[in-house]
Assembly symmetry: C2
Homo-oligomer: 102 residues x 2
Amino acid sequence: MFIAMNRFRITPGREDVFEDLWRSRDSNLEGVPGFREFHLLRGATDEECTLFASHTIWDSRAAFDDWTESESFKKAHSQARAPSGTYLGHPQFEGFEVILEH
Amino acid sequence: MFIAMNRFRITPGREDVFEDLWRSRDSNLEGVPGFREFHLLRGATDEECTLFASHTIWDSRAAFDDWTESESFKKAHSQARAPSGTYLGHPQFEGFEVILEH
């Protein structure tokens, strides 16, 4: 099991724009081999930003890697983006292997 | 739905010590109201450290908060810790509300 997260630092006051973008977006993930679940997460807000993260669960890192090289991935990432000023810096990717569960 | 993560920066070469500690630990989470799933995650290694994260899924932030004030939480956190030099700095807590899922 593999968890892929992309961390987004969003300008305070722009959270609704960012959330609406994800709500209206087609993730193109249904039916992708090895894909299990997608979540959009909202974390803490400090003076600088509000932290969000996309959070997808996969059977394996290989399944995730295969998806990133697929047409489905290209489609999902060619959709509308939030207006400039919404993001503070680039999203930061983190991939995690599940090594223990209960 | 709420996801609680604690990020641990582990000294390169000490990953096994850290993983064994979690394997032998009793999380005391089974039966806690609102608790759904526990995962220990292993992330990337760079020159400085290997990133790990505990990752628990809860019905709500309130369920998680209640657990942190419980006897069960105290028990889980009074167990053996890794030897000094294993951790690079304190663990960093991050809590996330699930705002979208599919």
